[in-house]
């Protein structure tokens, strides 16, 4: 599925970022293909805010459509609760797995 389809609170792994520029830019932000992240917020018709490694990144809707993700846990609501209690900086440990 693509990033614009994730639900709030859902955790997922980023599979493919089509746009070269965006891929390099997100790597600097701390997120790359293979990173795990969770969806912090979805603005209806607008950007998707994802959260990874204690930081939040807003991704425009069109760009989100070109980012392939792999959902990790189903049932976003429960996951969000866990996330809320832990606070933004202490989500479940995320590990980058870069395919080489």
């Amino acid at each position: 599925m693509t990033l614009d389809q994730v639900r709030k609170g859902q955790r997922f792994q980023i599979e493919k970022i089509q746009d070269d520029f965006s891929r390099m830019q997100t790597l600097r932000f701390g997120i790359g293909e293979g990173s795990e992240a969770s969806c912090f917020e979805v603005i209806p018709g607008g950007p998707i805010i994802l959260s990874s490694g204690g930081q939040e990144i807003a991704v425009g809707r069109k760009l989100a459509r070109s980012i392939q993700v792999n959902p990790l846990v189903h049932g976003g609501e429960e996951d969000e609760l866990l996330y809320d209690n832990a606070g933004c900086c202490r989500g479940p440990r995320k590990k980058h797995r870069f395919g080489r």
Partner: protein, 582 residues
Amino acid sequence: MIFAGLTGQYVDVSNYPGTTVETYVGRFNEATVIDTPGVYGISSFNDEERVARDVILQADAVINVVNAARLRQDLFLTLQLIDAGLPLIVVLNMMDEARANGVEIDRRRLEELLGVPVYTAVAASGEGMDGIKQAIKEERFRRGKADEALDFNGFAPEIPRGDRLLILEGDREVAAKYGLTPGAGMEQIYERRRERADGIADAVMRSTNKGVRWSVRLGRWAIRPLTGLPILALVLLGIFYILGVGVATHVVEFTEGHLMEGIYQPFIKSLVEKVLPLKSAAGKLLVGEFGMLTMGITYLFGLLLPLVVAFYLLLGLLEDSGYLPRIAVLADRLLTAVGLNGRAVIPIILGFGCVTMATVTTRLLGSNRERFIAVFLLGLAIPCSAQLGIITGMIAPLGLYYILVYGGVVLGIFGLAGLVLNRVLPGRSTDLLIELPPLRLPRLGNILLKTWHKTKNFLKETIPLFLLGSLILGVVDLVGGLGQLNTWASPLIHGWLGLPKEAATAFVMGILRRDFGAAGLTDLALTAHQTLVALVTMTLFVPCIAAVLVILKERGWKEGWAIWFGSLVTAFTVGGLVHRLF
């Protein structure tokens, strides 16, 4: 802030990455210290990075200021600097904020893993500055542990290591300098570096369960539309109330009415009278109706200065708290419709301060197409703070109906022009991709310093223009040109817009400076309806001469004049329509 602490010089600091496009140069002992824009990495991604890259690659040594509260992200640049083989000191700044977020950092372990000295600091309070100064004096800069997989062989010996790294990373500009083909290794190098940065961050950071979480909650509320839009509305309303009611009415009443017209003007008139008669040409030019020392100075210090100071204070608050990028998120959907993305709220909000300044910041937009749209909309439909102050001052007493019509028309034109441009212009615009820094309590000292600096620059640029404007107006008045001009423009001003023909003077002055023109309107006895028409036309009318010059500089002559002419035609067309429809 670290830079300011070292050199005693002012530096523009804010919570939005990418607001310092200029570099600041200062001195510390014998050394020249150059502050670069805040960047995520160095290469040719954008202007800031280019500037930072060029400064850094030529430096003897680098002080890498890392935000302890966002170590994971900032380590990417640190590792890039280490890979470039630069002698380095790392300063972990904002330790207080990291602690407040419940993050502990093991400094020694970080030192060990990076292979360079690491110092901790809270630059805003001066904590740790002595240690850093000491380290620089003793030249404790070290080359750290670089990525071992990097292959620097196969380059001509005269190419420095930093340049080699950037060529390997595929930086076209650096490669072109040596006539080489840029490498294709960017992605692998970046991925390895990201992995190292994450590994180091995991090893040195420890989360404690202490710390305040209100900022996280508030940050979430600020972007969630259900709560975010009311918050945004409140913030904007607050700004309008403070600027429009508090400052534009009450403060200005005191500064313009009391200080300027009550005390200063009689004083300066009596002073001039001792040297030359008030009725003489020179006397009129100095202290007459349009006198440089009377009207010019009064508008400037009595009317403009309080408004501008207030605006910069509020803007500083928005920037420093980290709220600005959240507005970008909320505005993204709407701005996408006009061919921009959420990032463009930065120039647009800045535009409410000064269109000239905002035009320069359109460079941070992702494509040439967006830059053109943003510059056009800024010039057309965004009133600058000085103008806005006068506009709010004039329209607020007219009541809700006029406020809504004015706001609606200007906003409508903004949207309409944007929609049309988005349809007509070729190419496609880029998408939003920004980081949301944690919300924090703004630092008062920081904001005051910034406001002071910006106000100073504003006055430096404005005083000559205002004096010149009064002089030109005075001279034209002396030779009877104003009556002539008013008669000549009468069909347009009186016939089409339904305004008294004297308003032509205000419009001409509007070219010199928008706010100057708007201020000229306050002197005319206008009905509520006429005020509305005049203000709409004035808002859409050409930006001030300074903005026109910057637009020409940024967009070139052809596009520049197209923008100028386009907004002129739009302004009078819309003004006439408002006259007939409302």
